[in-house]
């Protein structure tokens, strides 16, 4: 495989459940060394796509290639190069931390000596040295998630697929997991990462694909995605009090979507455009209002996500 050849290449993937089209002509390429974010609301087809990549699900149409070769249920040589960290913790309740890591690593590495080194490294990597002899039921949610990751990456895979690995973990464990993923990526692993936490995706992912209703609705880097939407920065100005006439003048500015007072702060949500901050401050100066702190927050990935996928609640799984 050439170094620039896609690690994952999907063309026109279609997966139907009866009348429901779970994945609708999805195409994507993931280059070596990327951390590729797969975003979407519940039921958008992320996990189905991952299960199709892993051949856990058959699909109706399309092609999936990994490392330049077609992926089939019996592509054991390709599977050997993949690590999976599923959304649910997938470990044996009856085995200890070390036994769990060893048993899953053994599916990939038969040499016992080599495996011992890998298991040691994986346990060190997730910081579970003190819990080696613990059974999963004795571990907290964060430790369980770290064990789940250790079981998926112990064999040093080239491609790691992580499906919401930080669900329901405390901030410390989350930080540990995220920095671990950064280290894996720095060591050369390509990562497919799904999450509902936008700040995680923004921090980790070099490219992002947003899915909705089984389709790819946007893709690119975080900055590229932010550039695609109409939402601009949020401007906050500490003004103490403000009369209604001045507030109306702020609202009437071009690119201002909403403006309101809250606890002495003027909060303005702008559409994308130039000079938004200076326009707001100009109105305040003209009205003779003095102001204190001024904050200007650019649009976040969360804004992108909500604008693209909508704000309506999704009930489907």
């Amino acid at each position: 495989m050439a170094s620039n050849e896609a690690v994952v290449r999907i063309r026109n993937l279609v997966k139907r459940y009866g009348e429901l089209v779970a994945v609708d002509h999805l195409s994507l390429d993931i280059a070596p060394g990327e951390v590729f974010g797969l975003l979407g609301p519940n039921g958008s087809g992320k996990t189905t796509t991952i299960n199709c990549i892993l051949q856990l699900l058959s699909y109706d149409h399309g092609e999936i290639e990994l490392f330049g070769q077609p992926m089939r249920p019996t592509s054991y040589q390709l599977k050997r190069r993949i690590g999976v960290v599923p959304q649910e913790v997938a470990v044996f309740d009856e085995l200890t931390v070390r036994e769990n890591v060893d048993s899953f690593c053994a599916l990939y590495v038969s040499d016992r000596m080599r495996r011992r080194e890998l298991v040691d490294a994986a346990i060190d990597f997730v910081g579970l040295q003190r819990f080696e002899s613990f059974r999963p039921k004795k571990l907290s949610g964060g430790l369980l998630r770290r064990l789940n990751i250790a079981c998926g990456v112990a064999h040093r895979p080239e491609l790691i697929i992580m499906d919401e690995p930080t669900v329901a973990v405390d901030p410390q464990s989350r930080e540990s997991i995220l920095s671990g993923i950064e280290r894996l990526n720095a060591e050369g692993a390509t990562v497919i990462y799904t999450s509902h936490y936008m700040e995680e995706v923004e921090r980790l992912c070099s490219r992002i694909l947003i899915m909705d209703h089984g389709r790819s609705v946007a893709s690119g880097t975080a900055d590229e995605l932010k550039g695609m939407i109409g939402t601009g920065e949020k401007v906050s100005v500490e003004v103490g009090e403000m009369d209604e006439a001045t507030l109306e003048r702020v609202r009437s500015l071009p690119h201002v979507r909403t403006a309101e007072m809250h606890a002495g702060m003027l909060r303005v949500q702008c559409a994308s455009g130039a000079h938004n901050l200076s326009d707001v401050l100009g109105v305040l100066a003209e009205a003779g209002r003095s102001y204190g702190r001024v904050l200007s927050e650019p649009p976040t990935l969360n804004d992108v996500f909500l604008e693209i996928t909508g704000r309506a609640l999704r009930d489907d799984a």
Partner: protein, 395 residues
């Protein structure tokens, strides 16, 4: 191989199930076997009864009758008072109490000469056992003998007694029949029949719980995404099921042989081997039922409930709690559809085997074959259901 090892580690981690179903229940079986222990002395012995005789007659005939009653039994002294007689019987101090009325001997000779009815004896029989009733039959028989001899031979009382004793001595002959093969101790057979319960429940629970653990969706998906081949996965599972069956069999049979079957090892090895083979086949059948339950995806709690209920029902229908001969015909008909019934046939056949030959062994092998068919059926149904369930989940 590593998957097989993982399966065994999971099996061994369920120590509570192993302790309860395998160790404790099998010990119960051995204790039941010990309670059924019956040593063989190689000679016939009559069990003695506690008897009392109150001879108010004091004649030669009453003396002969008294001697006859006391022969081979334990004499208990009871005062010739109404209250003492009642207490002795009511408190089970005697199984049989005979009161010979005054003038009985003279009356019997007189009745025999005239051909009229002999005078009655006064007898009391304990309701605690049947020994007194049996003794009463014998006493009545001896008294009838005296009457008969007096009627036919006549003469003195001494002549009548001598003739009656001669006739009586030749009436019952007991001889020991040598079997071609030494019998299997009853305790082994009893324990082996009970073993159907611990073997079934332990094998089924352990395998169903193992399969539930390795078949949990996230774990299953993670393994399916790995380079582990389906063949390796299935072989590991098959190996684990067979190993668990072998462990349950070896523990149960080994314990029975160690505690109860020392003499059978040397005396009746073929019969013992047949019992071992029957339990081995039953362990494999139990494992196959566990495999079926695992393929159905039963939970740990459901596996426990099923193992207990099915284990008890099967062992009951197999005659572990009540002998097959005591089961009503309807239940016996149903029992034919359980593997435990066929195992019991083999165990009982081996236990009562008088001669080891092809003619006696082959029918038992046939019964074992029928038992094995239950296991084959369970595995096939399990495979079909498992495949169908797997398709449903994927869809």
């Amino acid at each position: 191989m590593t998957t097989f090892r993982t399966y065994l580690e999971i099996f061994l981690s369920h120590r509570v199930y192993i302790a309860i179903y395998l160790v404790m229940l099998s010990l119960v079986g051995v204790i039941i076997g010990l309670s059924a222990y019956s040593g063989t002395t190689g000679e016939f012995q009559v069990a003695p009864a506690n008897v009392a005789v109150i001879d108010r007659d004091g004649s030669e005939l009453s003396g002969a009758l008294t001697r006859h009653v006391l022969q081979g039994n334990n004499q208990v002294e009871v005062a010739d008072e109404k209250r003492a007689i009642q207490d002795a019987v009511a408190r089970d101090q005697v199984s049989y109490l005979l009161v010979i009325p005054e003038g009985w001997g003279e009356g019997l000779l007189d009745a025999a000469r005239r051909g009229t009815q002999a005078p009655n004896l006064e007898t009391y029989v304990s309701y605690y056992s049947g020994m007194g009733r049996l003794l009463d039959i014998e006493v009545t028989g001896y008294a009838d003998g005296l009457y008969g001899m007096a009627a036919t031979l006549g003469g003195s009382a001494a002549n009548v007694i001598a003739a009656t004793d001669d006739a009586w001595e030749g009436s019952t002959q007991v001889s020991m029949v040598k079997q071609a093969a030494a019998p299997l101790p009853t305790s082994i057979a009893v324990a082996a029949e009970f073993a159907s319960y611990p073997i079934f429940s332990s094998a089924m629970v352990c395998i169903a719980v193992l399969m539930s653990s390795v078949g949990r969706r996230p774990v299953r998906d993670r393994r399916l995404a790995s380079p582990e081949t389906a063949r390796a996965r299935n072989l590991a599972l098959l190996g684990a099921c067979v190993t668990i069956a072998l462990v349950t069999w070896a523990w149960n049979f080994g314990l029975e042989v160690a505690v109860l079957g020392g003499s059978a090892l040397a005396g009746s090895p073929v019969q013992l081997a047949l019992v071992g083979a029957a339990l081995l086949v039953y362990a494999l059948v139990s494992a196959s039922v566990g495999f079926l339950a695992g393929q159905l995806g039963v939970s740990e709690n459901a596996a426990n409930a099923l193992a207990n209920i099915l284990g008890m029902v099967m062992s009951f229908l197999g005659g572990a709690w009540t002998g097959l001969s005591l089961l009503p015909d309807e239940l016996l008909a149903v029992a034919h559809f359980t593997p435990a019934y066929w195992v019991t046939l083999v165990v009982e056949g081996a236990a009562s085997m008088g001669e080891v030959s092809a003619a006696t062994v082959l029918p038992l092998m046939g019964d074992l074959g029928v038992c094995a068919l239950f296991g084959v059926t369970a595995v096939l149904v399990g495979l079909v259901l498992g495949r169908s369930r797997s398709r449903t989940q994927v869809a």
